[in-house]
Symmetry: C2
Subunit: 440 residues, 2 copies
C-alpha cells in the first residue's frame, strides 16, 4: 500500500500546512519499528508483519488469557483500570488561599470523545461541599412572584417537561493565568476548568411560570446551600429561556461535588453562575450586587474600570493531544485532537495550524455538534520530526472567530483573570516533548 493510498479524511493537505509534512510509515515503539521497516517498501505497517517473527504476546497465549483476572466479582459500581491510575483530576496548591476554596482540573489531555466522565469533571468549590440529605432537601421560589413555592426533590422529579441536554460548563477563570504569558505546562491546568455533561432536569421556566413572575421581576437570584452560600444574579430573560433545574448528569444522580441533589444549569454562561446545591431562586427588579459579581467575576481593564456581568463564554478551543502532558511519541502518521465550544451557539468550524498561525487546515468535527456543548475535532497528520507550533482556532455559528491572546490583550489589558479565550500555542520539539509557549 503506497502512502498515496492513505485515506485523506481530515488529513492535512500538503499545500495547506507549513512546514509541509511528509507522509511517513507507522513505526511502533519499543524497537518494533525495525520489523515494520523490514517488511517491505511501501507497506504502511503499524507494527511488525506476522511473517517477520511471531509476537510473544500473540503466540503463545498471553498470561492474561490463562487466568480469570480480577473481574470474577464485578464491582457493583465500577472503576477505571489500574493502568489508568494517573488519569485523575489534579489540584495546584498555590491557586487558592486554602483548600476550603479549591480547584480540581479535568485531565483533558487523556480524554477523548464528547462526554466528560462524572468522576473527572473539574470542581471549583468556594466553601467546601454541602452534604445534603435528599429527603430533607427543599427548593424555594420567592420574591416578586404571585405565589411563593417550596419543592421537595420528589416534587421536582414530578414536574412536567423534563429534558435532557448536553452543555459545556467552563469556569470564567479558565486559562486566566495565560493573560500575562504562558505559565502552566499542560492543558489540564491551562484549560481544565471545563467539562461537558448530559443533564437531566426541568426548565427553570416551569417553576417561575408556576409561581407567576410579577411584571416588575427582571432578575433572579440563585443561591446555593454550601457554606459559601454562593449567590449570583441572572437576568430574567435567561432564566426563562434555557436554564435548567438539574438533578442528573450523564444518566445518574448529580455527583456530590457537582451540587447533589440539584444544581442550576445556565447554558453557555460562566460556570460560577451554575449554582450548585441550589436552594432558592428569588425574583427581583435589579441585580443583587453579590460578592461573586462585584469583587470577583468582573473583568478589570487596563484603565481601572471593570467589565461587569460578562456572562457569556465566547468561542474557544484547545488542542488536547499533542500537548505537554501528551507528547508525540513517534514519527509518521499521528492524530491531533482537541475540543471547541461556544456559549453563543454551535461550533461551525475549527482550523488547526502546525506553524504558529501562518497556515491553517480545517479539522474534522467528529461526534455530535450540539449548541453550547463541547465539540471534538481531529486532524490526521504525518510528522517528519520537525518542530511544530500547534494552534487551534474555533468559529461558531454566529460568525465569531476565536482571537489570538494579543488581540484580546489589546482590548482588555492584562489585569483580569477572567474570560481569556485566546488561541493556545504548544511547541512540539523534535523529540516530541511539548511545551506551553507564546507566539508574537
Amino acid at each position: 500500500m503506497s502512502d498515496n493510498q492513505l485515506p485523506d479524511t481530515g488529513r492535512a493537505a500538503g499545500n495547506a500546512v507549513a512546514p509541509p509534512l511528509s507522509r511517513r510509515r507507522f513505526l511502533s515503539v519499543a524497537g518494533l519499528g525495525a520489523g515494520a521497516a523490514a517488511a517491505g517498501a511501501g507497506a504502511l505497517r503499524p507494527g511488525p508483519a506476522v511473517a517477520a517473527g511471531p509476537d510473544p504476546n500473540i503466540v503463545p497465549v498471553p498470561a492474561w488469557s490463562k487466568t480469570l483476572g480480577p473481574g470474577v466479582n464485578v464491582n457493583p459500581y465500577g472503576k477505571p483500570s489500574k493502568f489508568e491510575k494517573d488519569v485523575v483530576r489534579r489540584e495546584v496548591t498555590w491557586l487558592t488561599a486554602s483548600s476550603e476554596s479549591s480547584v480540581s482540573f479535568t485531565p483533558l489531555y487523556a480524554l477523548d470523545g464528547v462526554i466528560t466522565p462524572n468522576g473527572l469533571c473539574f470542581v471549583r468549590h468556594h466553601g467546601g461541599e454541602a452534604e445534603i440529605d435528599p429527603d430533607k432537601y427543599r427548593f424555594m421560589i420567592h420574591g416578586m412572584v404571585d405565589k411563593e413555592l417550596v419543592f421537595t426533590l420528589d416534587d421536582i422529579k414530578r414536574m412536567p417537561g423534563r429534558v435532557n441536554r448536553a452543555y459545556f460548563l467552563e469556569c470564567a477563570a479558565n486559562s486566566g493565568m495565560e493573560w500575562r504569558g504562558a505559565q502552566l505546562n499542560g492543558c489540564q491546568f491551562t484549560h481544565g476548568m471545563i467539562h461537558n455533561v448530559f443533564y437531566t432536569g426541568v426548565p427553570l421556566r416551569a417553576f417561575l411560570d408556576m409561581a407567576g413572575v410579577k411584571p416588575k421581576g427582571k432578575w433572579v437570584l440563585a443561591e446555593g446551600a454550601d457554606a459559601a452560600v454562593m449567590t449570583r444574579s441572572i437576568p430574567i430573560e435567561k432564566a426563562l429561556d434555557d436554564c435548567l433545574v438539574a438533578f442528573a448528569m450523564n444518566g445518574e444522580a448529580l455527583r456530590p461535588e457537582q451540587g447533589y441533589p440539584v444544581r442550576l444549569v445556565v447554558p453557555g454562561w460562566e460556570g460560577n453562575m451554575w449554582i450548585k446545591w441550589l436552594r432558592r431562586i428569588k425574583v427581583g427588579d435589579q441585580p443583587w450586587q453579590q460578592r461573586e459579581e462585584t469583587s470577583k467575576y468582573t473583568d478589570l481593564l487596563a484603565d481601572g474600570r471593570s467589565r461587569r456581568f460578562t456572562f457569556i463564554m465566547d468561542a474557544k478551543s484547545v488542542v488536547t493531544s499533542p500537548s505537554p502532558q501528551a507528547p508525540l511519541r513517534q514519527k509518521g502518521p499521528n492524530v491531533l485532537t482537541g475540543i471547541a465550544w461556544s456559549g453563543r451557539g454551535s461550533i461551525k468550524r475549527v482550523d488547526v495550524s502546525l506553524d504558529g498561525g501562518r497556515n491553517w487546515t480545517t479539522a474534522r468535527l467528529e461526534g455530535p455538534v450540539m449548541p453550547m456543548a463541547m465539540t471534538r475535532f481531529y486532524l490526521d497528520f504525518d510528522w517528519a520530526g520537525q518542530e511544530l507550533m500547534v494552534q487551534s482556532r474555533a468559529m461558531d455559528d454566529t460568525g465569531y472567530v476565536q482571537p489570538t491572546k494579543n488581540e484580546l490583550r489589546a482590548v482588555r489589558g492584562t489585569n483580569s483573570i477572567y474570560h481569556n479565550n485566546g488561541i493556545q500555542t504548544w511547541l512540539v520539539r523534535s523529540n516530541g516533548e511539548t511545551e506551553n509557549v507564546e507566539v508574537g
Copy 2:
C-alpha cells in the same frame, strides 16, 4: 392557577388514555401536602407556601450550609453520593453456573437521560476479566488478507479516521426469562442487560483496508483475550460497514470489565458479538461455527429447529419508572419515563398505554435521537390512585413495531432465551406498588 393551565407538552390527553386520569394537585410527602392544600384553591403547589409557615430546612440555615462537608479535598476520581449507595449493578446467583461466567445488571430504574454511566454499565463475562497491560497489548489482522498486520495500542490511536458514536449494547438474552411468563420483578433484571455509551475508536474497515481483504474473504472472526477466548463470526459486509475498534467509552479509557484496552463495537447487533479484550480479526470465507454461535446464541424454535445468526436486536422499549423498583409515591402529577432502541435504525415513536394496551398515547422523545442508540421518552400524567397496567411500544424508522410477547411466542415458541423484544407490562397497584405481570 387552575388545572387547565397546566403545560400540556407530552401530557396524556384525556380522551386518548383510559382510564382517564383526572388532574390532581402536587401533594408533597411527609405531611407537607396539608400546607399545600391549605394554601388556596386552584394553586398547583408542590409543597407548602412559604406563607403557610417556614420550613425548618430553609429558615434557619440548614446544618449542611454551616460546615465545609466532605468535599474540602476533592477525590482525584470522583464517586457518587453516599445517599445513592443502592444505585448499583446487581447480580442474581442462579442465572449462571458459576461466578466465572456471570451477569451484572444495569439499574435502569434509577437512571435517566441517554447515557449509561461507565460504573453502572451491565457486564456479561464468560471467563472472568482479562487484565491486559496496555503496553503489551497487540491486535492482529490476518487470514485471507494481502498483508497480515499487528498493531500496538499506540498504533491504533495513530490511525486516521477516529470517530465518536453513541450505541446501545444489548445482550441477546436480555428479557430472556420473560419468554415463559413474567418472572423477574424489576426492570434492572428484566431489561438491565443493556447500556448506551459514546465510543471513541477507529472503523474496523480502516484496518481491513490496510491489510487488504482478498476477494474470497466473506466473514471475519473476532477473538477476545479473556480466559474464555470469546469468538464470534461476523459477515464481512458488517465488518466493513460500521464496526469500530474502540478504546474509549464516554470520554475515558474503556473500563476493565468492558474490554480494556480495546473492544469491538458492532452497532445494533447482539452484545455477545462486541468482543471485549479484542486480540485478533481473522478474515475467512465462511463462518467458524464457534460455541457461541452454535450451542449458544441461537434461537431454539418449537419444532426443534434453531434460528441462527440472528444478529440484529429488533426495536424494543421498557418503562423504567414507574416499575417494581421505582413505585409511584404520590397521586397527582407524575412523570413516566423509559427507554427505547432499535438495531435497525433510529427510534421514530414510542407509545405508552396505562391500561394494558387498550389505549395508547404518544410519548415525548427527549434528548438526542441517534441511530442504534438508546432513546429516552417521557409521558407526563396525573394519577388519581387507580390501578394501572403500564406498557410501552417502540417504533423505528424502518416502520417496525415492537410486538407483544404473545405475538412473538406465536412465531418463536418459548424454547429460546434470546431475542425477546416483546412489550413489557407493569401493574401499578392503588398504593403505588408495582409488579411484573402478563396481559393476555
